[in-house]
Amino acid sequence: MLLKDLFAVTMLLSIYGLLSATFFVAMDAVDVAFTEASVGAGISTLLLLVVISVTGRRERRVRHKPYAALFVVILTSMLLVFGTSDMPYFGSADAPIHNHVAPRYLNDSMQEINVPNIVTAVLASYRAFDTFGEVVVIFTAGIGVLALMSVSSKALSKSQPLNRPRGLYEQHLVIRIVAKTLFPFIFLFALYVQFHGDFGPGGGFQAGVIFAAAFILYAMLFGLDAATKVIKPAVIELLAALGVLLYGSVGIVTLLNGGNFFDYDYLLADPIAGQHLGILIIELGVGITVTCVMIMICFGFSLRRRAYEQKVAIRPKEGAV
């Protein structure tokens, strides 16, 4: 039985996110579990819902049966499964990954960086350049959505639709009050995650996603107009670029101080303090960029939807005239 209801498919997908996060917890990969919790179960469900609200709920019927595609998928997955038989056993000591750089991360990171959470040390210091790449990818995705989905502001402001369904604000007393109570705590928790990446699971990516999810919830409950009044879309776009810039400029400063790109030892006189400062700043940059890009994507789709609704609302009138 194939589900044609995209909405139900989204719900089942969020189960996948929940389960894989539990799996990561059981494997003791706390940071990955944290990311999966916030990204897989949280923001991707939200964004898929926003997309469904634009595209419609039903999958279009296809005439041909995609057997060829199914065949390719099965073949590829069988090859991949076959490939895993050559991989070293889980946790075996002579696996290549345990002999290359991992021992150095595990043994020396405490002296070199002095951050209790090794994942953060690897992500933000040893592999800062890779993470920079990831942030740029996220930023590029945001720009892409902006380029594809943007609606000219003229078309929107021309006329406000008359019968647009109002936000949940008026309809749902219960959600309104509970959400109002919870918002400050969600935001503060996101900031807590942002700044405690050194000590426990967390960091810029997760914090950004939680923050953005809370803000998107606000936009859903209180309407897009209220949300754009809180932060103007232009400011969000600017901040998204600023986050990447903040990250990159740390690298530039280290270059100017005579070190390698993202070698935080050269940020301050004391290498350890330099590492701490560098990690703090780039995590902040990551957090800002992720938050703003997620909000940007959500706004893009919602504005698109509104423009479409206006078009539908205006057309019959013109016919009557």
């Binding site: 007393l173 109002k180 918002f183 705590f185 935001f187 807590y192 209220a226």
Partner: protein, 158 residues
């Protein structure tokens, strides 16, 4: 408005300190910055008011919660019995119940208390009526007697 901001600030400080567990200078400073940012943002969002910080209820709310916990305990046992005995014993019922609360806050407390007690769900909340779905008709009768309603009304009187 000022009262609510101060209480929110205190709660947020407690939230940060209890979550953080690191009391170095840097993290405390970051905490203060974060809390002020959140306060600024929530003010811009206009979500800090008597609805999100129900200060006027504080001194009576504990007694009510104790009573509610007792109710939840009883109705839990009822629903558990129904689960294990099977479908034949349940008599699902839908009924509207009049409520006497005036403020939004009181209505929400009532609706949430109904939902929180297993065996009854508030399906819809309109002007002064709550539509309740109950697993068992007897639990609806208990609700109609108005014990919970009275207690919440008492809660609201300052």
């Amino acid at each position: 408005m000022k009262r609510h901001s101060i209480s929110l600030f205190c709660v947020l400080v407690a939230f940060w300190l209890l979550n953080s567990g690191h009391y170095g200078f840097l993290l405390l400073a970051l905490g203060i910055i974060s809390i002020s940012f959140v306060l600024y943002l929530t003010h811009r969002m206009d979500v800090v008011d008597h609805e999100s910080q129900p200060l006027h209820l504080t001194h009576k709310v504990f007694a009510y919660h104790l009573w509610l916990i007792k109710e939840i305990f009883h109705s839990n046992i009822d629903v558990l019995k129904h689960i294990w005995r099977g479908q034949l014993t349940i008599t699902p019922t839908l009924k509207t119940i009049k409520i006497s609360q005036q403020s939004d806050m009181g209505k929400v407390i009532y609706a949430n208390s109904i939902t929180l007690t297993p065996g009854t769900i508030s399906v819809d909340l309109e002007n002064d009526e709550i539509l309740v779905h109950a697993l068992d008709a007897s639990s609806l009768e208990g609700l109609e007697l108005g014990e919970m309603d009275k207690r919440i009304s008492k809660l609201e009187q300052i």
